[in-house]
């Protein structure tokens, strides 16, 4: 049994390389090529002109949260506290109330997510037995001028639509 030994060739030991100047000039030619390529036609820059041109978000992206509904419009969430228990950053705050539409016994009367605490790990989505909480809104830029507005309430979470169709979301492993 022989171990395959590959000798890595040592670079930078020849006289020309030790002279340094030649290599400096080589490097400078490379960068100058980039400079003129971009100077002559700046549409070739490898940049996305961000606020105007937004990146494409895939269905697997964990964006801002939302709460889903059944087809008849009733809230899927049954206030089982799975997500709140599982949340590593303690950003979910649920208060349960009685449910009268016959789907189950409980439903949330309050469902707050503090986006300043949230680390977007997606454990709440994984923990949810009802597929009630999802992070598929495609909202990746979560900013605000005040701390209060960074806490999402039940209404806001229910109102936010999903950005992807069911098929695509399932393909993403949801």
């Amino acid at each position: 049994m022989s171990i395959k030994v590959r000798t890595v060739e040592r670079k930078g030991r020849t006289f020309l390389e030790q002279l340094y100047l030649v290599e400096v000039i080589k490097g400078m030619t490379v960068t100058l090529g980039h400079f003129f390529r971009n100077l002559l036609d700046n549409s070739r820059l490898y940049v996305r002109h961000y606020p105007e041109v937004e990146p494409e978000i895939t269905a697997r992206w964990r964006g801002r949260h939302r709460l889903t509904r059944h087809e008849d419009g009733s809230v899927k969430c049954v206030a089982c506290f799975m997500c709140q228990t599982n949340c590593p950053s303690n950003c979910i705050m649920i208060e349960a109330g009685e449910r009268h539409d016959g789907r189950s016994e409980k439903m949330p009367t309050r469902f707050d997510i503090d986006l300043l605490e949230c680390i977007y790990c997606g454990y709440c989505v994984e923990a949810c037995p009802m597929d009630a909480i999802r992070m598929d809104t495609g909202i990746y830029s979560v900013t605000s001028y005040s701390r209060d507005s960074m806490v999402l309430g039940l209404e806001e979470l229910l109102e936010t639509p999903g950005a992807f169709d069911e098929e695509e979301y399932k393909k993403g492993g949801g």
Partner: protein, 428 residues
């Protein structure tokens, strides 16, 4: 002193003081946009006044305003406030003073009077530069020491050690150059470079001193604390070095001082090695003699340059994504109108010169203006080399820096002196 004398004194001093200052804005812009283009990024291109971005130059104004209005903090632990405040001034003023002896055009002959086109017409030239540029490092050491901060002291020490070690190869490279030119006066050096070697090669310093120019440029990079020798402010290991405790305009002075130093050392490299204000093959007398054909050539060339520049602007100054009524295209239209009116004004001025004023004094002034333009253009290119090197080469380690200075550059500079003096003694 006649009125003309006073006017020329004012003009020359204004040139010496304000050109480096206005170049600071251009250099900061060049550094940021240049860096971006070297790295395939766009650089600052959003900041605007009424939609006019001037290619990103407005960003400088915004940065300047920001720095001017920031709180000027002098940390409580600093005991020597006087030195703390003095340091950025020293850095800035010494950088600015160096430019005083650099000639930006040939001696202007108006009637029977000769005007040396330097801010301070002195004979000591290069000695003044060496004296003042060496003084600049005091500012850095003082800043580092008076900051009473470990990073600051380390940065100051590094800068001091570096400048002292690189002043020796720089001085020695200059020795052989002085042997070639036979003078320390920068104006005379510039005139020397107007001659031709073997009748067809411009006798510029880098042709006569190919080894000297490399040594001098490397040493000049080290003197200005620019990459690859900017370990005085190595962000990764000593945060920002000597200016770590500075804020607001005091920091801005360091920042501007760095760019003024870069401009001045570019100007010096151009003066010593790249023909100063000389246009290759056209020395002052030739230009004066053939002033009219030169002017006609310029008049023909201007619209061509204007056309290509305008086309370049149209291609590049637009939004690279869909936008209704692209405001950048409107901006370009205005720029192109400005460009062509500038070309038209220049053409008219040159035409007036051709018809009414050619010969005598007007020729001299025209040639001086041409030479100022050439000088500034060359200096601009040299500054670009500074930016280019900065965004290509990584920073040296401290021991590597000292090794290059003492073990490579110093023997090379000595060798250069021997070769140069042997050639001078045997041939001329």
């Amino acid at each position: 002193m006649s009125a003309l004398d006073i006017l020329l004194v004012i003009l020359r001093i204004a040139f010496g003081a304000f050109v480096p200052l206005s170049f600071v804005a251009i250099l900061v812009w060049m550094e940021r946009r240049g860096a971006a283009f070297f790295q395939d990024r766009a650089g600052p291109n959003r900041c605007n006044v009424l939609g006019f971005r001037a290619g990103g130059l407005i960003q400088n104004a915004a940065d300047g305003i920001k720095l001017a209005f920031k709180e000027d903090v002098i940390p409580g632990h600093i005991k020597h406030k006087f030195y703390f405040v003095l340091a950025p001034m020293l850095v800035f003023i010494t950088a600015l003073l160096c430019f005083a002896v650099i000639p930006f055009a040939d001696v202007l002959i108006l009637g029977d009077k000769h005007y040396i086109m330097q801010a301070v017409p002195m004979d000591i030239g290069i000695l003044w530069f060496l004296a003042v540029v060496g003084f600049g490092v005091y500012g850095i050491i003082l800043a580092g020491w008076s900051s009473h901060n470990k990073y600051g002291v380390l940065g100051g020490l590094r800068a001091a050690a570096q400048v002292i070690s690189y002043e020796i190869p720089m001085g020695l490279a200059l020795v052989s150059l002085l042997a070639v030119y036979g003078t320390v006066n920068l104006s005379e050096m510039a005139q020397f470079q107007g001659r031709l070697l073997f009748g067809f090669i411009p006798m510029w310093g880098f042709v006569l001193q190919p080894l000297g120019v490399i040594i001098f440029i490397v040493a000049a990079f080290a003197e200005t604390n620019r990459t690859p020798f900017d370990l005085a402010e190595g962000e990764s290991e000593i945060v920002a070095g000597y200016h770590v405790e500075y804020s607001s305009m005091k920091f801005a002075l360091f920042f501007m001082g760095e760019y003024v130093a870069m401009f001045v050392s570019s100007a010096l490299i151009v003066t010593l090695y790249f023909g100063s204000y000389q246009i290759p093959w056209f020395n002052t007398e030739t230009l004066v003699t053939y002033a009219r054909p030169v002017v006609i050539a310029i008049m023909l060339g201007l619209p061509v340059i204007g056309y290509f520049f305008g086309e370049w602007m149209k291609r590049n100054n637009r939004s690279h994504y869909y936008r209704e009524n692209d405001p950048r295209q409107k901006e370009t239209t205005v720029y192109i109108a400005l460009l062509w009116s500038l070309v038209a004004i220049l053409e008219i001025v040159l035409l007036i010169y051709l018809v009414f004023a050619h010969g005598g004094v007007a020729d001299r002034i025209l040639v001086a203006l041409l030479q100022i333009g050439t000088f500034l253009f060359k200096t601009f290119l040299m500054c670009f080399v500074y930016v280019w090197v900065r965004w290509t080469l990584p920073r040296f380690r401290y021991d590597q820096l000292q090794k290059i200075g003492w073990e490579k550059l110093l023997p090379l500079a000595l060798l250069n002196i021997f070769i140069t003096s042997a050639i001078i003694v045997s041939f001329g």
